[in-house]
Amino acid sequence: MLEISKRNARSWSRIGARALYGTAFSAMASSNQNIIGMSADLGRSSGLARFASEYPDQFINTGIAEQNMVGTAAGLARMGFDVFASTFAPFASLRAGEIVRMNMGYMQEPVKLVALGSGLAMAFLGNSHYGLEDVGVMRTIPGLTIISPADCAEIVKTLLACVGFDRPVYIRLTGAINLPIVYEEDYDFQIGKAVWIRPAQPTTIVSAGSTVGHALQAIKQLEEDGKDVGLLNMHTIKPLDAEAIAHCVASSEQICVIEEHTSVGGLGSAVLQHINEFHPDYKGRVLLHSIKDRYVETGNYAFLLEVNKLDAAGIREFLKESAGVS
Protein backbone atom coordinates (compact mmCIF):
# COMPACT_ATOMS: atom_id res chain seq x y z
CA MET A 1 0.00 0.00 0.00
CA LEU A 2 2.91 2.35 0.66
CA GLU A 3 5.07 1.31 -2.28
CA ILE A 4 6.52 4.08 -4.40
CA SER A 5 5.03 3.74 -7.89
CA LYS A 6 3.82 5.96 -10.69
CA ARG A 7 0.25 5.19 -9.83
CA ASN A 8 0.62 5.88 -6.12
CA ALA A 9 2.67 9.00 -6.79
CA ARG A 10 -0.18 10.41 -8.89
CA SER A 11 -2.94 9.60 -6.44
CA TRP A 12 -0.88 10.82 -3.46
CA SER A 13 -0.05 14.07 -5.29
CA ARG A 14 -3.74 14.71 -5.85
CA ILE A 15 -4.60 14.58 -2.15
CA GLY A 16 -1.48 16.50 -1.10
CA ALA A 17 0.90 16.34 1.84
CA ARG A 18 -1.55 16.75 4.70
CA ALA A 19 -4.06 14.06 3.69
CA LEU A 20 -1.25 11.77 2.55
CA TYR A 21 0.27 12.04 6.01
CA GLY A 22 -2.94 10.67 7.50
CA THR A 23 -3.12 7.90 4.91
CA ALA A 24 0.49 6.86 5.31
CA PHE A 25 0.48 7.11 9.09
CA SER A 26 -2.66 4.98 9.30
CA ALA A 27 -1.20 2.32 7.03
CA MET A 28 1.96 2.15 9.16
CA ALA A 29 0.31 2.28 12.55
CA SER A 30 -2.50 -0.19 11.83
CA SER A 31 0.09 -2.95 11.58
CA ASN A 32 2.37 -1.76 14.39
CA GLN A 33 0.90 -1.34 17.85
CA ASN A 34 3.98 0.45 19.10
CA ILE A 35 3.10 3.49 17.00
CA ILE A 36 0.94 6.18 18.59
CA GLY A 37 -0.58 9.14 16.79
CA MET A 38 -1.33 12.39 18.55
CA SER A 39 -3.07 15.50 17.35
CA ALA A 40 -3.98 18.82 18.90
CA ASP A 41 -7.49 18.60 17.48
CA LEU A 42 -6.47 18.49 13.82
CA GLY A 43 -7.08 14.80 13.17
CA ARG A 44 -9.90 15.49 10.73
CA SER A 45 -7.73 18.03 8.94
CA SER A 46 -4.95 15.55 8.35
CA GLY A 47 -6.68 12.34 7.32
CA LEU A 48 -6.53 10.76 10.77
CA ALA A 49 -10.22 10.66 11.70
CA ARG A 50 -10.79 7.11 10.54
CA PHE A 51 -7.68 5.78 12.25
CA ALA A 52 -8.68 7.58 15.44
CA SER A 53 -12.04 5.83 15.51
CA GLU A 54 -10.75 2.40 14.44
CA TYR A 55 -7.65 2.37 16.67
CA PRO A 56 -8.59 4.42 19.74
CA ASP A 57 -5.79 2.79 21.78
CA GLN A 58 -3.21 4.20 19.39
CA PHE A 59 -4.49 7.73 19.04
CA ILE A 60 -4.78 10.67 21.43
CA ASN A 61 -6.47 13.95 20.64
CA THR A 62 -5.08 16.29 23.28
CA GLY A 63 -7.57 18.99 22.42
CA ILE A 64 -6.35 22.37 21.26
CA ALA A 65 -3.33 22.18 23.52
CA GLU A 66 -0.08 21.93 21.60
CA GLN A 67 2.19 22.40 24.60
CA ASN A 68 0.65 19.45 26.40
CA MET A 69 0.67 17.42 23.20
CA VAL A 70 4.44 17.73 22.90
CA GLY A 71 5.06 17.12 26.62
CA THR A 72 2.79 14.07 26.71
CA ALA A 73 4.33 12.79 23.48
CA ALA A 74 7.74 13.02 25.16
CA GLY A 75 6.56 10.91 28.10
CA LEU A 76 5.18 8.28 25.73
CA ALA A 77 8.38 8.31 23.69
CA ARG A 78 10.32 7.84 26.94
CA MET A 79 8.26 4.68 27.44
CA GLY A 80 9.51 3.37 24.10
CA PHE A 81 6.58 4.17 21.84
CA ASP A 82 7.02 5.58 18.33
CA VAL A 83 5.03 8.75 18.76
CA PHE A 84 3.97 10.94 15.83
CA ALA A 85 2.41 14.16 17.11
CA SER A 86 0.98 16.54 14.56
CA THR A 87 -0.42 20.02 14.32
CA PHE A 88 0.00 23.04 12.07
CA ALA A 89 3.60 24.20 11.72
CA PRO A 90 3.51 27.49 13.68
CA PHE A 91 1.78 25.80 16.61
CA ALA A 92 4.22 22.88 16.61
CA SER A 93 7.34 25.02 16.36
CA LEU A 94 6.49 28.34 17.99
CA ARG A 95 3.52 27.76 20.30
CA ALA A 96 5.09 24.61 21.68
CA GLY A 97 8.65 25.69 20.95
CA GLU A 98 9.93 25.76 24.48
CA ILE A 99 8.33 22.41 25.27
CA VAL A 100 10.12 21.04 22.20
CA ARG A 101 13.36 22.54 23.50
CA MET A 102 13.06 20.96 26.97
CA ASN A 103 11.68 17.58 25.95
CA MET A 104 13.02 16.88 22.45
CA GLY A 105 16.16 19.00 22.80
CA TYR A 106 17.44 18.98 26.37
CA MET A 107 16.09 15.51 27.19
CA GLN A 108 16.34 14.15 23.61
CA GLU A 109 13.05 12.26 23.89
CA PRO A 110 12.60 10.81 20.38
CA VAL A 111 9.22 12.33 19.51
CA LYS A 112 8.38 12.70 15.82
CA LEU A 113 6.75 16.12 15.62
CA VAL A 114 4.87 16.50 12.35
CA ALA A 115 4.33 20.09 11.20
CA LEU A 116 1.31 20.16 8.92
CA GLY A 117 0.73 22.78 6.25
CA SER A 118 4.08 24.44 6.64
CA GLY A 119 5.28 27.13 4.25
CA LEU A 120 2.40 28.87 2.52
CA ALA A 121 0.07 25.89 2.17
CA MET A 122 -2.58 27.25 4.52
CA ALA A 123 -3.31 29.88 1.88
CA PHE A 124 -6.43 31.90 2.78
CA LEU A 125 -6.06 31.04 6.47
CA GLY A 126 -3.35 33.65 6.46
CA ASN A 127 -0.08 34.36 8.20
CA SER A 128 -1.37 33.08 11.56
CA HIS A 129 -1.27 29.62 9.99
CA TYR A 130 1.77 29.87 7.72
CA GLY A 131 4.97 28.06 8.59
CA LEU A 132 7.60 30.50 7.44
CA GLU A 133 9.80 30.69 10.53
CA ASP A 134 9.67 27.12 11.77
CA VAL A 135 12.96 25.86 10.34
CA GLY A 136 14.73 28.90 11.76
CA VAL A 137 13.37 28.21 15.23
CA MET A 138 13.82 24.45 15.21
CA ARG A 139 17.36 24.63 13.79
CA THR A 140 18.58 26.35 16.93
CA ILE A 141 17.66 23.37 19.13
CA PRO A 142 20.68 21.08 19.60
CA GLY A 143 20.20 17.46 18.64
CA LEU A 144 16.97 17.95 16.74
CA THR A 145 16.78 16.41 13.26
CA ILE A 146 14.73 18.39 10.74
CA ILE A 147 13.33 16.69 7.65
CA SER A 148 11.37 18.43 4.90
CA PRO A 149 10.18 15.84 2.35
CA ALA A 150 10.12 16.94 -1.30
CA ASP A 151 6.92 15.18 -2.32
CA CYS A 152 4.36 12.65 -1.15
CA ALA A 153 6.58 9.67 -1.90
CA GLU A 154 9.26 11.19 0.25
CA ILE A 155 6.77 11.77 3.06
CA VAL A 156 6.16 8.03 3.02
CA LYS A 157 9.90 7.34 3.00
CA THR A 158 10.40 9.79 5.88
CA LEU A 159 7.69 8.27 8.05
CA LEU A 160 8.97 4.75 7.48
CA ALA A 161 12.52 5.86 8.30
CA CYS A 162 11.33 7.53 11.51
CA VAL A 163 9.79 4.37 12.98
CA GLY A 164 12.38 3.06 15.40
CA PHE A 165 14.65 6.06 14.79
CA ASP A 166 15.82 6.79 18.30
CA ARG A 167 16.22 10.55 17.97
CA PRO A 168 13.78 13.47 18.00
CA VAL A 169 12.65 14.68 14.59
CA TYR A 170 10.76 17.71 13.32
CA ILE A 171 9.03 16.66 10.10
CA ARG A 172 8.07 19.67 8.01
CA LEU A 173 5.29 19.05 5.50
CA THR A 174 4.92 21.64 2.77
CA GLY A 175 2.76 21.92 -0.34
CA ALA A 176 -0.96 21.63 -0.92
CA ILE A 177 -3.07 19.38 -3.14
CA ASN A 178 -1.53 18.50 -6.53
CA LEU A 179 1.90 18.57 -4.95
CA PRO A 180 4.47 18.27 -7.79
CA ILE A 181 5.81 14.73 -8.16
CA VAL A 182 9.55 14.26 -7.75
CA TYR A 183 9.72 10.49 -7.26
CA GLU A 184 7.77 7.92 -9.27
CA GLU A 185 9.85 4.92 -8.32
CA ASP A 186 11.54 3.67 -5.20
CA TYR A 187 14.90 5.15 -4.26
CA ASP A 188 17.40 5.07 -1.42
CA PHE A 189 16.28 7.41 1.35
CA GLN A 190 18.45 7.88 4.41
CA ILE A 191 18.00 10.50 7.08
CA GLY A 192 20.85 12.99 6.71
CA LYS A 193 21.78 11.91 3.17
CA ALA A 194 20.76 14.39 0.44
CA VAL A 195 19.58 13.07 -2.93
CA TRP A 196 20.80 14.32 -6.30
CA ILE A 197 17.84 14.81 -8.64
CA ARG A 198 20.07 16.34 -11.33
CA PRO A 199 23.87 16.14 -11.11
CA ALA A 200 25.80 19.19 -10.00
CA GLN A 201 26.40 21.84 -12.69
CA PRO A 202 28.03 25.27 -12.72
CA THR A 203 24.67 26.40 -11.39
CA THR A 204 23.16 24.05 -8.81
CA ILE A 205 19.96 24.39 -6.86
CA VAL A 206 19.81 23.14 -3.28
CA SER A 207 16.27 22.87 -2.02
CA ALA A 208 13.96 21.03 0.39
CA GLY A 209 10.24 20.48 0.57
CA SER A 210 7.73 21.48 -2.09
CA THR A 211 10.17 23.79 -3.87
CA VAL A 212 12.19 20.76 -5.00
CA GLY A 213 9.34 19.79 -7.32
CA HIS A 214 8.84 23.33 -8.60
CA ALA A 215 12.57 23.69 -9.20
CA LEU A 216 12.59 20.38 -11.07
CA GLN A 217 9.84 21.64 -13.37
CA ALA A 218 11.81 24.81 -14.04
CA ILE A 219 14.97 22.78 -14.75
CA LYS A 220 13.11 20.51 -17.17
CA GLN A 221 11.95 23.57 -19.11
CA LEU A 222 15.51 24.89 -19.24
CA GLU A 223 16.78 21.49 -20.37
CA GLU A 224 14.51 21.73 -23.40
CA ASP A 225 16.51 24.85 -24.30
CA GLY A 226 19.78 23.02 -23.77
CA LYS A 227 20.58 24.52 -20.36
CA ASP A 228 21.57 22.23 -17.47
CA VAL A 229 21.08 23.13 -13.84
CA GLY A 230 21.93 20.81 -10.94
CA LEU A 231 19.37 19.94 -8.26
CA LEU A 232 20.10 18.60 -4.80
CA ASN A 233 17.20 17.53 -2.59
CA MET A 234 18.43 18.40 0.90
CA HIS A 235 15.47 16.68 2.58
CA THR A 236 17.30 16.61 5.89
CA ILE A 237 17.87 20.26 6.77
CA LYS A 238 19.56 19.33 10.03
CA PRO A 239 22.06 17.79 10.16
CA LEU A 240 23.09 19.01 6.69
CA ASP A 241 24.73 16.49 4.39
CA ALA A 242 28.29 17.84 4.49
CA GLU A 243 29.47 15.53 1.71
CA ALA A 244 26.78 16.76 -0.67
CA ILE A 245 27.60 20.40 0.11
CA ALA A 246 31.29 19.68 -0.49
CA HIS A 247 30.36 18.28 -3.88
CA CYS A 248 28.36 21.44 -4.66
CA VAL A 249 31.28 23.60 -3.66
CA ALA A 250 33.68 21.59 -5.82
CA SER A 251 31.41 21.54 -8.86
CA SER A 252 29.38 24.73 -8.90
CA GLU A 253 30.09 28.41 -9.41
CA GLN A 254 26.66 29.28 -8.11
CA ILE A 255 24.69 27.52 -5.41
CA CYS A 256 21.05 28.63 -5.40
CA VAL A 257 19.14 27.74 -2.24
CA ILE A 258 15.39 27.75 -2.83
CA GLU A 259 12.87 27.27 -0.03
CA GLU A 260 9.34 28.08 1.09
CA HIS A 261 10.53 29.79 4.26
CA THR A 262 11.63 33.25 5.33
CA SER A 263 15.15 34.19 4.30
CA VAL A 264 16.04 34.29 8.01
CA GLY A 265 17.25 31.06 9.54
CA GLY A 266 16.10 28.49 7.00
CA LEU A 267 17.94 26.12 4.67
CA GLY A 268 19.64 29.09 2.98
CA SER A 269 21.07 30.25 6.28
CA ALA A 270 22.17 26.72 7.09
CA VAL A 271 24.00 26.31 3.77
CA LEU A 272 25.68 29.73 4.05
CA GLN A 273 26.80 29.03 7.58
CA HIS A 274 28.12 25.60 6.63
CA ILE A 275 30.08 26.92 3.63
CA ASN A 276 31.44 29.80 5.68
CA GLU A 277 32.68 27.41 8.34
CA PHE A 278 33.90 24.45 6.29
CA HIS A 279 34.66 25.94 2.84
CA PRO A 280 35.96 29.43 3.63
CA ASP A 281 37.88 29.53 0.35
CA TYR A 282 34.84 28.88 -1.84
CA LYS A 283 35.17 31.23 -4.80
CA GLY A 284 31.62 30.87 -6.06
CA ARG A 285 28.51 32.54 -4.71
CA VAL A 286 25.46 31.44 -2.80
CA LEU A 287 22.12 32.93 -3.82
CA LEU A 288 19.05 32.66 -1.62
CA HIS A 289 15.61 32.51 -3.17
CA SER A 290 13.06 32.44 -0.40
CA ILE A 291 10.44 34.64 1.22
CA LYS A 292 11.47 38.08 2.31
CA ASP A 293 11.49 38.95 6.00
CA ARG A 294 7.87 40.11 6.19
CA TYR A 295 4.27 38.91 6.56
CA VAL A 296 3.11 38.05 3.06
CA GLU A 297 -0.09 38.89 1.26
CA THR A 298 -2.82 36.26 1.32
CA GLY A 299 -4.50 34.29 -1.43
CA ASN A 300 -4.81 30.74 -2.70
CA TYR A 301 -1.68 28.59 -2.73
CA ALA A 302 -1.02 28.98 -6.46
CA PHE A 303 -1.29 32.76 -6.09
CA LEU A 304 1.09 32.76 -3.12
CA LEU A 305 3.68 30.69 -4.97
CA GLU A 306 3.34 33.00 -7.96
CA VAL A 307 3.75 36.30 -6.09
CA ASN A 308 6.65 34.91 -4.09
CA LYS A 309 8.18 33.50 -7.30
CA LEU A 310 8.40 29.99 -5.89
CA ASP A 311 6.45 28.17 -8.62
CA ALA A 312 8.24 26.83 -11.72
CA ALA A 313 7.80 30.11 -13.63
CA GLY A 314 9.01 32.15 -10.67
CA ILE A 315 12.05 29.93 -10.18
CA ARG A 316 12.89 30.23 -13.89
CA GLU A 317 12.63 33.99 -13.58
CA PHE A 318 14.93 33.91 -10.54
CA LEU A 319 17.44 31.74 -12.40
CA LYS A 320 17.40 34.19 -15.31
CA GLU A 321 17.40 37.48 -13.43
CA SER A 322 19.60 36.63 -10.45
CA ALA A 323 21.69 33.68 -11.60
CA GLY A 324 21.98 34.59 -15.27
CA VAL A 325 20.69 31.24 -16.50
CA SER A 326 18.33 31.58 -19.44
Binding site: I36, D57, I60, T62, G63, A65, Q67, N68, V70, G71, T72, A73, A74, G75, L76, A77, R78, M79, G80, F81, E98, I99, M102, N103, Y106, M107
Partner: protein, 277 residues
Protein backbone atom coordinates in the same frame (compact mmCIF):
# COMPACT_ATOMS: atom_id res chain seq x y z
CA UNK B 1 9.12 0.15 55.66
CA UNK B 2 9.29 2.66 58.49
CA UNK B 3 7.22 5.75 58.02
CA UNK B 4 10.26 7.94 58.50
CA UNK B 5 13.46 6.00 58.04
CA UNK B 6 15.08 9.35 57.38
CA UNK B 7 14.34 12.25 59.70
CA UNK B 8 13.02 15.43 58.14
CA UNK B 9 15.37 17.43 60.32
CA UNK B 10 18.33 15.61 58.79
CA UNK B 11 17.12 16.54 55.33
CA UNK B 12 16.79 20.18 56.37
CA UNK B 13 20.33 20.09 57.75
CA UNK B 14 21.58 18.67 54.46
CA UNK B 15 19.76 21.37 52.51
CA UNK B 16 21.12 24.35 54.43
CA UNK B 17 24.61 22.86 54.78
CA UNK B 18 24.88 22.07 51.05
CA UNK B 19 23.47 25.47 50.14
CA UNK B 20 26.00 27.19 52.39
CA UNK B 21 28.88 25.04 51.14
CA UNK B 22 28.25 25.85 47.51
CA UNK B 23 28.65 29.55 48.19
CA UNK B 24 25.93 30.48 45.73
CA UNK B 25 22.27 31.37 46.03
CA UNK B 26 19.84 28.46 46.15
CA UNK B 27 16.03 28.20 46.12
CA UNK B 28 15.71 27.52 49.82
CA UNK B 29 12.10 28.41 50.60
CA UNK B 30 10.59 25.96 48.13
CA UNK B 31 13.01 23.18 49.15
CA UNK B 32 12.14 23.45 52.82
CA UNK B 33 8.38 23.52 52.23
CA UNK B 34 8.28 20.12 50.52
CA UNK B 35 10.53 18.10 52.84
CA UNK B 36 7.78 16.04 54.52
CA UNK B 37 5.94 15.47 51.23
CA UNK B 38 9.09 14.15 49.60
CA UNK B 39 10.36 12.17 52.58
CA UNK B 40 7.16 10.23 53.06
CA UNK B 41 6.99 9.60 49.32
CA UNK B 42 10.52 8.22 49.06
CA UNK B 43 10.37 6.49 52.45
CA UNK B 44 7.14 4.58 52.21
CA UNK B 45 5.18 5.18 49.01
CA UNK B 46 7.41 5.21 45.94
CA UNK B 47 8.34 1.78 44.55
CA UNK B 48 12.03 2.27 43.88
CA UNK B 49 15.44 0.70 44.43
CA UNK B 50 18.16 3.25 45.10
CA UNK B 51 20.81 0.57 44.47
CA UNK B 52 19.19 -0.24 41.11
CA UNK B 53 18.03 3.13 39.76
CA UNK B 54 17.26 1.65 36.33
CA UNK B 55 14.94 -1.05 37.78
CA UNK B 56 12.41 -1.25 34.97
CA UNK B 57 9.42 -1.78 37.23
CA UNK B 58 9.99 1.34 39.31
CA UNK B 59 7.62 4.23 39.91
CA UNK B 60 8.68 7.55 38.45
CA UNK B 61 9.13 10.80 40.36
CA UNK B 62 9.34 14.13 38.54
CA UNK B 63 10.27 17.38 40.25
CA UNK B 64 8.24 19.73 38.09
CA UNK B 65 8.98 22.65 40.45
CA UNK B 66 12.56 22.15 39.37
CA UNK B 67 14.05 25.07 41.28
CA UNK B 68 13.51 23.08 44.50
CA UNK B 69 16.19 20.69 43.28
CA UNK B 70 18.33 20.87 46.41
CA UNK B 71 15.53 19.34 48.51
CA UNK B 72 15.24 16.58 45.93
CA UNK B 73 19.00 15.95 45.81
CA UNK B 74 19.15 15.80 49.61
CA UNK B 75 16.46 13.10 49.54
CA UNK B 76 18.17 11.16 46.75
CA UNK B 77 21.41 11.20 48.73
CA UNK B 78 19.71 10.29 52.00
CA UNK B 79 18.04 7.27 50.39
CA UNK B 80 21.29 6.08 48.90
CA UNK B 81 21.26 7.16 45.27
CA UNK B 82 24.62 8.88 45.61
CA UNK B 83 27.25 9.81 48.15
CA UNK B 84 27.64 12.85 50.38
CA UNK B 85 30.69 13.75 48.30
CA UNK B 86 28.54 13.76 45.18
CA UNK B 87 25.96 15.98 46.88
CA UNK B 88 28.79 18.37 47.73
CA UNK B 89 29.32 19.03 44.04
CA UNK B 90 26.01 20.92 44.05
CA UNK B 91 26.42 24.14 42.06
CA UNK B 92 30.13 23.59 41.53
CA UNK B 93 31.56 24.35 38.09
CA UNK B 94 31.06 21.44 35.72
CA UNK B 95 28.85 19.42 38.08
CA UNK B 96 25.68 17.75 36.84
CA UNK B 97 23.97 18.72 40.11
CA UNK B 98 22.88 22.27 39.40
CA UNK B 99 20.04 24.62 40.27
CA UNK B 100 17.49 22.59 38.32
CA UNK B 101 17.26 18.83 37.75
CA UNK B 102 19.12 17.46 34.74
CA UNK B 103 17.89 14.02 33.70
CA UNK B 104 20.37 11.37 34.76
CA UNK B 105 18.80 8.02 35.46
CA UNK B 106 21.87 6.58 37.18
CA UNK B 107 21.48 9.24 39.89
CA UNK B 108 17.72 8.72 40.15
CA UNK B 109 16.94 11.96 38.32
CA UNK B 110 14.18 11.02 35.90
CA UNK B 111 13.57 14.32 34.15
CA UNK B 112 15.12 17.65 33.26
CA UNK B 113 13.11 20.53 34.64
CA UNK B 114 13.43 24.18 35.41
CA UNK B 115 10.93 25.58 32.98
CA UNK B 116 7.77 25.50 35.07
CA UNK B 117 4.54 23.90 33.92
CA UNK B 118 6.05 21.03 31.96
CA UNK B 119 6.51 18.12 34.35
CA UNK B 120 2.86 17.14 34.49
CA UNK B 121 2.61 16.67 30.71
CA UNK B 122 5.76 14.56 30.63
CA UNK B 123 4.51 12.51 33.57
CA UNK B 124 1.11 12.13 31.93
CA UNK B 125 2.76 10.67 28.85
CA UNK B 126 4.70 8.18 30.96
CA UNK B 127 1.62 7.24 33.00
CA UNK B 128 -0.37 6.61 29.81
CA UNK B 129 2.56 4.64 28.44
CA UNK B 130 2.71 2.43 31.55
CA UNK B 131 -0.98 1.59 31.14
CA UNK B 132 -0.54 0.84 27.46
CA UNK B 133 2.30 -1.51 28.37
CA UNK B 134 0.06 -3.29 30.88
CA UNK B 135 2.08 -1.95 33.80
CA UNK B 136 -0.90 -0.46 35.63
CA UNK B 137 0.76 -0.98 39.01
CA UNK B 138 3.45 1.57 38.15
CA UNK B 139 2.73 5.17 39.10
CA UNK B 140 4.09 8.58 38.21
CA UNK B 141 4.37 11.21 40.96
CA UNK B 142 4.82 14.85 39.95
CA UNK B 143 5.80 17.45 42.53
CA UNK B 144 4.52 20.89 41.63
CA UNK B 145 4.25 24.30 43.21
CA UNK B 146 1.19 26.49 43.52
CA UNK B 147 3.12 29.26 41.81
CA UNK B 148 3.80 26.83 38.97
CA UNK B 149 0.04 26.44 38.62
CA UNK B 150 0.03 29.95 37.14
CA UNK B 151 1.30 28.31 33.93
CA UNK B 152 -1.41 27.59 31.34
CA UNK B 153 0.24 24.38 30.18
CA UNK B 154 -0.46 22.85 33.61
CA UNK B 155 -4.18 23.02 32.94
CA UNK B 156 -3.84 21.50 29.48
CA UNK B 157 -2.34 18.44 31.15
CA UNK B 158 -4.81 18.48 34.05
CA UNK B 159 -7.75 18.46 31.64
CA UNK B 160 -6.42 15.65 29.45
CA UNK B 161 -5.43 13.44 32.39
CA UNK B 162 -8.96 13.77 33.76
CA UNK B 163 -10.57 13.05 30.40
CA UNK B 164 -8.49 9.91 29.96
CA UNK B 165 -8.89 8.83 33.60
CA UNK B 166 -5.16 8.36 34.12
CA UNK B 167 -5.35 7.23 37.74
CA UNK B 168 -1.69 6.20 37.97
CA UNK B 169 -0.74 9.86 37.65
CA UNK B 170 -0.43 11.58 41.03
CA UNK B 171 0.33 15.27 41.40
CA UNK B 172 1.49 16.83 44.65
CA UNK B 173 1.06 20.58 44.95
CA UNK B 174 3.39 22.05 47.55
CA UNK B 175 1.10 24.98 48.23
CA UNK B 176 3.35 27.39 50.08
CA UNK B 177 1.37 30.29 48.62
CA UNK B 178 4.36 32.17 47.33
CA UNK B 179 6.14 32.64 44.05
CA UNK B 180 9.27 34.61 43.06
CA UNK B 181 7.80 38.07 43.57
CA UNK B 182 5.82 37.33 46.74
CA UNK B 183 2.35 36.03 47.53
CA UNK B 184 0.67 33.93 44.81
CA UNK B 185 -2.31 36.21 44.32
CA UNK B 186 -3.86 34.20 41.46
CA UNK B 187 -5.26 31.64 43.91
CA UNK B 188 -6.71 31.75 47.39
CA UNK B 189 -6.98 35.54 47.45
CA UNK B 190 -10.18 37.24 48.54
CA UNK B 191 -12.78 36.53 45.86
CA UNK B 192 -10.34 34.46 43.81
CA UNK B 193 -10.40 30.73 43.11
CA UNK B 194 -9.23 28.25 45.71
CA UNK B 195 -6.51 26.19 44.05
CA UNK B 196 -7.82 22.84 45.31
CA UNK B 197 -11.26 23.70 43.94
CA UNK B 198 -9.80 24.32 40.51
CA UNK B 199 -8.24 20.84 40.43
CA UNK B 200 -11.52 19.39 41.70
CA UNK B 201 -13.48 21.20 38.98
CA UNK B 202 -11.34 19.47 36.35
CA UNK B 203 -12.37 16.10 37.78
CA UNK B 204 -9.31 15.13 39.79
CA UNK B 205 -9.45 13.26 43.09
CA UNK B 206 -8.29 15.97 45.49
CA UNK B 207 -6.93 15.46 49.01
CA UNK B 208 -6.15 18.58 51.03
CA UNK B 209 -3.74 18.25 53.92
CA UNK B 210 -1.23 19.94 56.18
CA UNK B 211 1.94 19.22 54.23
CA UNK B 212 4.11 19.19 57.34
CA UNK B 213 2.11 16.58 59.28
CA UNK B 214 3.75 13.32 58.23
CA UNK B 215 0.80 11.20 59.31
CA UNK B 216 -1.57 13.30 57.21
CA UNK B 217 0.87 13.16 54.32
CA UNK B 218 1.09 9.39 54.56
CA UNK B 219 -2.68 9.01 54.77
CA UNK B 220 -3.11 11.28 51.76
CA UNK B 221 -0.86 9.10 49.62
CA UNK B 222 -2.80 6.01 50.73
CA UNK B 223 -6.13 7.61 49.89
CA UNK B 224 -4.92 8.73 46.47
CA UNK B 225 -3.51 5.28 45.66
CA UNK B 226 -6.72 3.58 46.72
CA UNK B 227 -8.62 5.51 44.07
CA UNK B 228 -8.49 3.69 40.74
CA UNK B 229 -10.58 5.88 38.51
CA UNK B 230 -9.30 9.42 38.52
CA UNK B 231 -5.91 11.06 38.52
CA UNK B 232 -5.17 12.23 42.05
CA UNK B 233 -3.68 15.35 43.53
CA UNK B 234 -2.53 16.12 47.04
CA UNK B 235 -2.89 19.83 47.66
CA UNK B 236 -0.63 20.33 50.64
CA UNK B 237 -0.81 23.46 52.72
CA UNK B 238 2.82 24.25 53.53
CA UNK B 239 5.03 27.01 54.84
CA UNK B 240 7.71 28.36 52.57
CA UNK B 241 11.06 28.11 54.33
CA UNK B 242 9.62 25.66 56.90
CA UNK B 243 11.92 24.74 59.78
CA UNK B 244 14.15 27.80 59.81
CA UNK B 245 12.27 30.49 61.71
CA UNK B 246 13.57 33.54 59.91
CA UNK B 247 13.01 31.95 56.51
CA UNK B 248 9.40 30.96 57.13
CA UNK B 249 6.97 32.89 54.93
CA UNK B 250 9.83 35.25 54.19
CA UNK B 251 10.25 35.51 50.44
CA UNK B 252 13.71 37.00 50.82
CA UNK B 253 14.66 33.32 51.12
CA UNK B 254 12.99 32.28 47.87
CA UNK B 255 16.47 32.34 46.33
CA UNK B 256 19.33 33.46 48.48
CA UNK B 257 22.81 32.68 49.69
CA UNK B 258 23.54 31.24 53.14
CA UNK B 259 26.72 32.77 54.59
CA UNK B 260 28.78 30.78 57.13
CA UNK B 261 27.33 32.96 59.89
CA UNK B 262 23.76 32.41 58.70
CA UNK B 263 24.46 28.69 58.51
CA UNK B 264 25.34 28.66 62.21
CA UNK B 265 21.97 30.23 63.01
CA UNK B 266 20.17 27.73 60.78
CA UNK B 267 21.87 24.74 62.41
CA UNK B 268 21.27 26.11 65.93
CA UNK B 269 17.56 26.44 65.16
CA UNK B 270 17.40 22.91 63.80
CA UNK B 271 19.30 21.57 66.84
CA UNK B 272 16.93 23.36 69.18
CA UNK B 273 13.96 21.90 67.31
CA UNK B 274 15.52 18.43 67.51
CA UNK B 275 16.02 18.66 71.25
CA UNK B 276 12.42 19.87 71.70
CA UNK B 277 11.09 16.90 69.78
Amino acid sequence: MALNSIKEIELRRLIVQTAADCGESAHLGGCLSMVELLNVLFGSVLRHKPNDPLWDDRDIFILSKGHAVLGYLAVLHAYGYFSREKLSTFQQNGSDLIAHPVKKLSLGIESSNGSLGQGLSYGLGMAIGMRKRGQDHRRVFVMMGDGECNEGSVWEAVALAAELGVSNLIAIVDENRHRNDGVNTLYNSAGGPVLADVWRAFGWHVVEIDGHDTEEVHAAYQEILANNEKPGVIVANTVKGKGIGFMEDNNDWHHNRITPKTLETCLEQLDAEASDA
